[in-house]
Symmetry: C2
Subunit: 550 residues, 2 copies
């Protein structure tokens, strides 16, 4: 049996290695269009910035290793140009010094695994790419950027695109002493994260000296010969730059799958079953090019991330090589990025995704310390959970902060995988010692807030809620009120609340506010239990509301 894998990087190498584990006799061939069969694509920005000094570390596995260890044949510079499903053959063009025009050949397969990945998109204003503009998608891209920096010592850079990779690149270029401007056409960075959380990251970027230009529509790129000198925006602004990095999104490489007539889903990806088989059972697809079931919606989604690419590759390889495998399982879009001193992470759906799908939700936001606050080094995080108002099922979560953001999102992602509710989240028995967490972990605290909300004790309202016409009670200290003023609020500090709550009108709709929502919860509970009819707590408090400025 011959198993042919198209593409090494995006799940292909995983598929090949797994196929060999379960089948010692199959012939296994990886055809890779590029010059390198497998490299750490998530590491590229860090080599540009110098955090990963040794380029060799990015080379995950060489053709020699594949052959010696696994008896897997690797053919680089081999581009698969078409599939003949009836004949079960593929047409290949090999690019080499011998055959500069490309050498055509054919190869038969018993099972074919497509792991062709994505390719970066280029805005029309940047076509053709100026000589100082680069994607950062392949090792070759990275090498070109490194050479350009070495040769031209650029003083300024514009990064187009405020997604995960765009933010990583902006930080790394900043480490290389450039004046970095990050532009994005949307009103915020990091689309999978809700606006106020993204705002925390935006302020952090600006505090580090990154210039951020949002709602930025590229209108023109001014060039001197083939070199970009200025990026012009639709609103008339112009940004001079020595270097341009284009991180404006990627699209799946599905032309092979399309040509072969495989079923393509509504999200533009190959439709596969739980064993990663496409509509042709002898052709598998993995990685960025496939649509998988989303664990929250149960619907198909295409979310190009390394984790599911690797897990999917493993399953495809196993099934191709022995006709059976465990099922793939669902995806949640769990993702994380480090931005200077902060970490942002998310899992499941965010508010805009929930709205667009018409899924009703509620949300709770807390501010918490990464570990017991009496133990040195605790770092603050904001943690948000989105949940169903009907049964408390967890729909998504986001966190921004220091240490331990990754842990909380992974725990909640695990709970979502099992269809967990916020009530179950509140019950988790998590590991506690002062250097690692708190007896009531941030995961518990956000779950408690959500459970209280579901029990209407009292109800949470969004940090950005309109407060006009409501009795707003500010339970913060005077110092806090001066630092972040909340106009038109009645100030009653929480430690005077039991004394002074009688100053309030029980018949007015009332909102209690503090810095993070914790003390406000105490005050709001008090009022509700004293018979106030309509009491709510501004979730996330002023720490979130203040993110809603301009």
């Amino acid at each position: 049996m011959r198993i042919v894998i198209v593409g090494g990087v995006a799940g292909g190498a995983s598929a090949a290695a797994r196929a060999r584990r379960v089948n010692a006799d199959a012939e296994i061939i990886i055809l890779e269009k590029g010059p390198v069969v497998s490299f750490a694509n998530c590491g590229l920005p860090y080599h540009v910035g110098g955090e990963i000094q040794d380029r060799g570390k990015l080379l995950v596995a060489t053709p020699d290793l594949f052959w010696n260890r696994f008896r897997i044949e690797v053919r680089v510079q081999n581009e698969v140009v078409s599939i003949d499903r009836e004949a079960k053959t593929i047409a290949i063009v090999e690019h080499s010094a011998e055959h500069p025009g490309g050498h055509r050949s054919e190869l038969s397969y018993d099972r074919l695994i497509l792991a062709t990945g994505s390719q970066p998109t280029t805005p029309p204003q940047l076509q053709p790419l100026p000589s100082n503009a680069f994607h950062l998608w392949t090792l070759n891209d990275m090498d070109q950027i490194m050479s350009f920096i070495a040769d031209h010592a650029p003083k300024s850079a514009v990064v187009i695109g405020g997604g995960f990779v765009g933010l990583e690149v902006a930080e790394q270029l900043h480490h290389r002493q450039m004046n970095v401007t990050l532009i994005d056409r949307s009103p915020q960075v990091l689309q999978p994260i809700d606006r106020l959380f993204a705002k925390i990251i935006e302020e952090h970027l600006e505090s580090k000296g990154i210039r951020l230009v949002l709602n930025a529509f590229l209108s023109n790129v001014v060039k001197k010969v083939d070199r970009a000198t200025d990026v012009e925006l639709a609103d008339g602004r112009s940004i001079p730059t020595d270097l341009l990095i284009v991180g404006a999104g990627v699209r799946p490489r599905i032309s092979l799958a399309e040509q072969a007539g495989l079923t393509i889903g509504s999200h533009g990806g190959v439709v596969v079953n739980e064993h990663m088989q496409s509509s042709d059972p002898d052709i598998y697809a993995v990685g960025d090019i496939v649509e998988l079931h989303h664990g929250v919606t149960g619907q198909l989604a295409r979310i190009p991330l390394a984790g599911s690419a690797n897990r999917g590759g493993r399953i495809a390889g196993e099934h191709a090589a022995r006709g059976q495998s465990d099922p793939m399982g669902s995806i949640l879009g769990t993702a994380i990025v480090r931005v200077f001193d902060l970490t942002a992470a998310c899992t499941g759906l965010n508010e805009s995704a929930l709205k667009s799908k018409g899924i009703e939700y509620r949300s709770a936001i807390i501010q918490a310390a990464s570990h017991a606050s009496y133990y040195p080094g605790a770092q603050s995080m904001q943690l948000k959970v989105l949940y169903s108002p009907f049964d408390g099922r967890i729909l998504g979560a986001q966190a921004v902060g220091g240490e331990g953001v990754d842990k909380r999102i992974d725990v909640i992602a695990t709970a979502i995988h099992f269809g967990g509710t916020v009530r179950q989240l509140a019950q988790l028995d998590l590991a506690y010692a002062p250097p690692y967490g708190s007896a009531k972990d941030p995961v518990h605290m956000v779950a408690f807030a959500a459970c209280n909300d579901l029990d209407s004790a009292p109800t949470l309202i969004e940090p950005t809620a309109l407060l006009d016409g409501k009795q707003v009670v500010d339970v913060r200290t005077q110092r806090e009120r001066q630092q972040l003023p909340l106009p038109n609020a009645i100030a009653i500090e929480i430690d005077q609340f039991a004394e002074r709550w009688t100053e309030l009108d029980p018949n007015l709709p009332t909102v209690v506010v503090c810095h993070s929502g914790k003390r406000a919860h105490i005050g709001a509970c008090w009022l509700r239990n004293k018979g106030f009819k309509n009491v709510s707590n501004l979730t996330g408090g002023m720490s979130m509301r203040s993110m809603d400025a301009s």
Copy 2:
């Protein structure tokens, strides 16, 4: 309605605060036997060692704060000595300067919450406690130790007990420049962790200069006047010391519950329902004194840990104050400790617990990096999962290593909470970026190993398995073999395996071994697929087997 809470530290403060949240009118009184209503008991060792400099940080909440913020009355130095369930009254003895002999009074209750916690045990050889011997259980204990160190500048210390707190204390006294000897009567430290994992911690302690004496039965303590000078062991060894810390276990303070005739379970704890009500529905119990349902066995267990004490307190407070609450949920004994540069953590049951309960299990061990190994700063961890051979249900997990041990144990604890299997663990969609993890996280890797084992592809055997009479194949490099020799093994490096496997006898039971089990898996798969009848992989490899020395 009057809610009386006996004990502030072990869940009592949580109960009181939650009761107030759901009921603004109830009279809530905390009676605390000691001088301080609530303090961070898990932080005590770190103040002794100087990591937490400011003693004030350990004081979680003062009586003033309880009153001003919550209208909760706190009476310290108030010991509850008996309960009259019929009359619904308690007898109190107040200790104060005014009443040195103790002032007796009575108080009625509508709901009573017992949060009396544990008290440390003292071996008979140390009764009465010498003047230089201390527990480390209360703030007062801590203060006494601090004074003793300040006054006497001890050069050596003996810590009795190698549990979580014993290890923390040993490290902190070492930070204070003492020669520290840690003694324990059992053959290993950290009972909830399996022997070879505990051994990693033991070697680390010794590498830091802690002297470890295991299987150490205290026979006598030599005293000069009231001061201990030498600790004598049953085997004749004698350890001179300037300071003794007794961390030889705790027992629940259940005398009040016993006196009141509440049902006590077979583990010596108060039996409660899911709302933390004892056999008397007006009396609740929380914290170290209760037995709760264990999430793996479904049976009652008593595991005194801060997390479940706090969560239980919250539930008892809510139910006492309004007659309803969410259920407590199960416990898993999830625990964690930092020991110098390492972290050890566990959840669920370990091997000895599974054996004693007659639960069949299998185990998989991996060695993995905390994050992508090409990104700087990755630290190694050993991760073990225990699972059912029948359905793959996760029964427990342990990890020892650097960064990220806490995250992996919390993720697995979450999966156990939902009754998850190792196959589900392999499907989790976890957050990946190079600084935080790998595209295949250690959680996935250990789950993959377990799934392979369940699929018999090939079967894992324990690191300590007898290898006599088996064909043992060592796939490590020559250098690795020299560093940690494995006698009587046939050496075939993994990258020559596809070439040289024919040198092996397919009819012999065969064990493949490498450093961590990863390369051995490749070799073992190869042999099995080539028709070898009986192939296994030494799980955890030489890195674990070498822990089984002496």
